[in-house]
Amino acid sequence: MPSPLTEKQTLEIGKSNKRKYMLEKLSARIFLLCALLSVLSLLLIVGFVFYKGSHPFVAEGYSFIDFVFGVDWVPSEGKFGIFPMIVASVFATFGALIIGVPIGLFTAIFLAEIAPKSIAKIISPAVQLLAGIPSVLYGVFGLAIIVPFLQNNLGLAKGQSLLAIILVLAIMMLPTIVTVAETAIRAVPKTYREGSLALGASQIGTIFKVVVPAAKSGIMAAIVLGLGRAIGETMAVILVAGNSLIIPTSLTDSVRPLTTNIALEMGYAFGTHQEMLFATGIVLFSFILLLNFVLAKISSKGGN
């Protein structure tokens, strides 16, 4: 029996099918390529920063120990010590965490559990919006209000200080912490609360003994995100830091954290000086990895 299609038609269908299969295969390859681009970007970033930053220690005979623990940063004399900046970064970040985390967390609990619905419905989206406001504006506010306030009330010669950084960073991390923690607390199943209340626990007792522990991993994520925002912040910090190269002995000292050192000097640095700024970047990078690791450890310990 002859085929209903002519030979030519069969051939054409075969050809178009072949093209279709080719296209399928090709597109899968292209999708894979796109996905691999993020791996490539990460490798390029880490590679370039580490290559540039390790060069003075590998090829120019600088000591990494002197770099990390040295107290003098005088690029024109070849002195590169970033210890004061490390101390400033650590103090600023932890200070901001100590103020920002409890307030942010309590606000999140309030919005998710206690607040009347009508109030939460206005405040939650507003706070969410504030998480998206450019961080520079927090710095502008800090310089215009917080710095003069500290200067006048604490009798300082200069209001730009470690304390000013801590306050600006704490305020800046609030919206992030509130938004993420609130989502986590809202995600706790209703039955948990009902069970606890049925056993005779009070509303507050239920919140702190049942709901918050159940939302622990989400709350931890909120803290890590807030922390990431604080430690990497640069431009807002420059405005309120004062940028003196000293090891802070009190909260009112003017300091220069790691990030601001990079931003302030990158514009004109070259040669070894520029490479040392990349090395500063490596220290900042390791610092972030370490903090995330510690927080992950803390949260897993709390679970046992």
């Binding site: 309590f106 405040i123 507003a126 919006l129 998206g132 406001i133 990497g232 990158m266 900042l284």
Partner: protein
């Protein structure tokens, strides 16, 4: 005793929430109060003048350039990468590596992106301090955002859609762009809008890659300042809080409009689809 403790904690909860709202309202209120007098047609659409009485149009144009270029590159790559991870990849070591890379990129602070951009795009690729160098750096910054939101959107497309389409004899590719991507569109769009917000708010990375020239950019290869960088520089160099606050108002309005349209789009398209 228990009652006392409960009341104390309840009081603390109210107090914290009050404090948070008060602080945030103060910041936004202060910026509007300080800057509103400068806002007028000439301020927004006028050319910059070093004397300080000019407008911010060059910075707005620069900001638009950076948004357009980085999205033009990051959106297709990000969407296709998410399609690969969700629709094509077999779960295994490769996918794990890609996920790890995307997550790590999210955690890198923008100043490190700035360092990288300054040595790779500006120096190695010889683009110089320019809008294009900044946009390419921003592309890497928003890529993880687009990948993650697109993945989330693809996850919400019901499996039956894919099965129904494939059962009609379509190829995987046809199913993808006729069925899956259209139904994931609202989520993808919100992701793109989120990325615009991230680009508008970015400062440190742009500061190190686009430079600080305060003039209308001649092309994407010129150095220029975005709104955020301008706001930083006028505060740092001349202490002109009023001008910085006026730019701040423009930025806050942009972010507000972006957020509202993201909410609107996802609501509207969701209704149309299901």
């Amino acid at each position: 005793m228990r009652k006392f403790k409960d009341n104390l904690l309840r009081g603390l909860l109210w107090f914290s929430a009050f404090l948070t709202v008060a602080v945030l309202v103060t910041i936004v209120g202060y910026i509007f109060y300080k800057g509103y007098r400068l806002i007028n047609f000439d301020f927004i659409f006028g050319d910059y003048s070093p004397a300080g009485d000019g407008g911010i149009w060059p910075m707005i144009v620069t900001t638009i350039y950076t948004i357009a270029i980085s999205l033009l590159i990051a959106t297709p790559i990000g969407i296709l990468a998410a399609v690969y991870l969700q629709e094509y990849a077999k779960q295994g070591r490769l996918v794990k590596t890609i996920r790890f890379a995307t997550e790590s990129l999210t955690g890198i602070p923008s100043i490190i992106y700035g360092l990288f951009g300054a040595v790779f795009f500006v120096t190695t690729l010889k683009l110089g301090m320019s809008i294009i160098a900044a946009s390419l750096t921003l592309t890497i910054i928003v890529l993880p955002v687009i990948i993650r939101t697109t993945e989330e959107a693809l996850k919400t497309v019901p499996h039956s859609y894919r099965e129904g389409s494939l059962a009609l004899g379509t190829t995987k590719l046809q199913t993808l762009y006729k069925v899956i991507l259209p139904s994931a569109m609202p989520g993808i769009l919100s992701g793109i809008i989120l990325s615009i917000g991230r680009i508008v708010g970015e400062s440190a990375a742009i500061f190190l890659t686009a430079g600080t020239v305060a003039a209308m950019p001649e092309s994407i290869f010129s150095s220029a300042r975005t709104l955020t960088v301008h706001s930083y520089l006028v505060t740092q160099e001349s202490g002109d809080i009023e001008l910085a606050a006026a730019i701040g108002i423009v930025l806050i309005v942009i972010i507000l409009v972006l957020n509202l349209s993201a909410t609107f789009i996802s609501k509207k398209l969701n209704k149309a689809d299901y």
